[in-house]
């Protein structure tokens, strides 16, 4: 199952500077595990010690924040787009 994942700048060091990568998984949790297998270190950047999505990282499935869907259990299907968007404070 091919899911497109959009990688923000701060995480592109893990993906060889790719801004989008393909992943698979029946839900978001599976997708992150799959990303971790291909790009080690990704899971730790996205999830905290308790296995929850870090609170300054938003993950969107087709433009919807998964916090308002089913979180890590949000179901994914072929063609879905997952976007990872961390808080950024730069302004100066």
């Amino acid at each position: 199952m091919a899911i497109t994942v959009r990688i923000p700048q701060p995480l592109r060091g893990l993906t060889g500077n790719l801004s989008t990568v393909d992943a698979s998984g029946a839900d978001l949790s599976g997708c992150i595990s799959n990303l971790e297998a291909t790009y080690p270190g990704m899971q730790q950047r996205l999830m905290d010690e308790t296995g929850q999505i870090r609170r300054f990282v938003n993950i969107y499935v087709n433009g919807d924040d998964v916090r308002f869907l089913d979180g890590l259990g949000t179901a994914l299907k072929d063609g879905d787009e997952v976007s990872i968007v961390p808080a950024v404070a730069g302004g100066s």
Partner: protein
């Protein structure tokens, strides 16, 4: 004939706090009578005991004073614009555009979405810009050029040579002088009609209400999380629209928060631990990114003032300059939000340095170190 009538601030309480209302009538007197029917008591403010227009009231039709037309009998056509302008003693008077302004803002005035009523709204508005840096520079410049009446700038820093790669408010000769002073000089050189108020201090829990309370709109160009949460909370508690933007490397984000429709805490419930997300000082930023995001922020302010279009509310705009893609994701008000949720626990400003685990930068430690 249906005409629009511009209502100056002193009379707006009579018309439901609107800046512009519609009236019907074949001439000025009929239109004013219609207004009195719609808003009882309106004419009492305008007429003397004999039922003539009081001498301290000037009425304009399409920007021409009616004494130069046919007085109260001046005929009206569909779409005409009437302005009712009282003389005021001192202070912020009603906005009568000078010929210089009509010339200066002519590209605004010819647009139906702006026009003279819209331009007056812009002139009567005020905006506070947090940070005279990368984002604050283009925001301040475009708002000043647009004619915003009062622009406040909060910044405690002095101009450094390394700022000049992106901070277009400052020039090489400004190195070493306070950014707010450099900003004020540049903005007034561009548009002397704008009142620029400088706040040369960090914004903190102690002064945020006092500073933000003086302005209609707040634009965030801060460079650290503590200030961003502080400004978010203060704006929500004061019910001020907050136009947010941030940049890093080749990425930008922008969104608009209207009180009650979600806030920065709904989007990002907690800041990253220090060091987890790099700052511009640590990771860099392409200078031209500032213009893209700052210009979007300035556009949002002007749209809100004019009441046109769809503001960037409940939407987070993501700009990826490398792939040159703009995307939008949803921002929702979180019922669990401690600030604007259903059961809020934050009702006053907190200690944001503790909340973020990092100090609010100040002059001795501009990068929060």
């Amino acid at each position: 004939m249906s005409v629009s009538v511009y209502i100056p601030t002193p009379f707006r309480h009579l018309v439901g706090n609107r800046a512009s209302v519609h009236a019907r009538g074949a001439n000025v007197m009929e239109a004013l009578s219609d207004l009195d029917t719609q808003f009882p008591g309106f004419n009492a403010q305008l007429m003397d005991a004999q039922g003539h227009l009081a001498r301290h009231i000037n009425v304009y039709v399409n920007q021409v004073e009616i004494e130069n037309l046919q007085g109260a009998a001046t005929p009206l056509n569909d779409g005409d614009e009437i302005a009712v302008i009282p003389a005021l003693a001192g202070g912020a008077g009603p906005t009568v555009m000078t010929p210089e302004m009509v010339d200066r803002y002519s590209r605004h005035l010819i647009m139906p979405q702006v026009g003279s009523a819209g331009q007056r709204k812009i002139i009567e508005s005020s905006a506070l810009i947090i940070g005279a840096g990368g984002l604050g520079s283009p925001v301040a410049l475009y708002l000043a050029l647009a004619g915003i009446g009062k622009i406040g700038i909060v910044d405690f820093d002095v101009v450094d040579r390394s700022n000049l790669q992106r901070q277009i408010l400052h020039v090489t000769d400004s190195i070493g002088i306070p950014k707010v002073d450099s900003a004020k000089a540049r903005l007034n050189a561009h548009n002397p009609n704008v009142e620029v108020v400088t706040h040369e201090e960090p914004i903190t829990s102690d002064n945020a209400f006092e500073i933000i309370g003086q302005y209609d709109y707040v634009i965030n160009g801060a460079d650290n999380f503590a200030t961003r949460y502080l400004v978010n909370d203060a704006c929500y508690l004061l019910k001020k629209p907050l136009i947010d933007g941030s940049i890093l490397m080749f990425d930008g984000q922008a969104t608009t928060y209207l009180p009650g429709k979600g806030c920065y805490r709904c989007l990002y419930p907690a800041p990253p631990p220090p060091g987890m997300v790099p700052s511009c000082a640590e990771a860099g930023v392409l200078g031209a990114m500032c213009a893209t995001i700052g210009s979007i922020q300035a556009t949002e302010v002007l749209k809100l003032i004019l009441g046109v279009g769809e503001p960037l509310v409940n939407r987070l705009l993501l700009y990826d300059a490398l792939s040159l893609e703009f995307r939008v994701v949803k921002v929702r008000r979180d019922p669990e939000c401690p600030l604007c949720g259903d059961n809020p626990t934050i009702s006053e400003l907190i200690d944001y340095e503790v909340f973020c685990g990092a100090p609010i930068p100040h002059r001795e430690a501009p990068f929060g170190g």
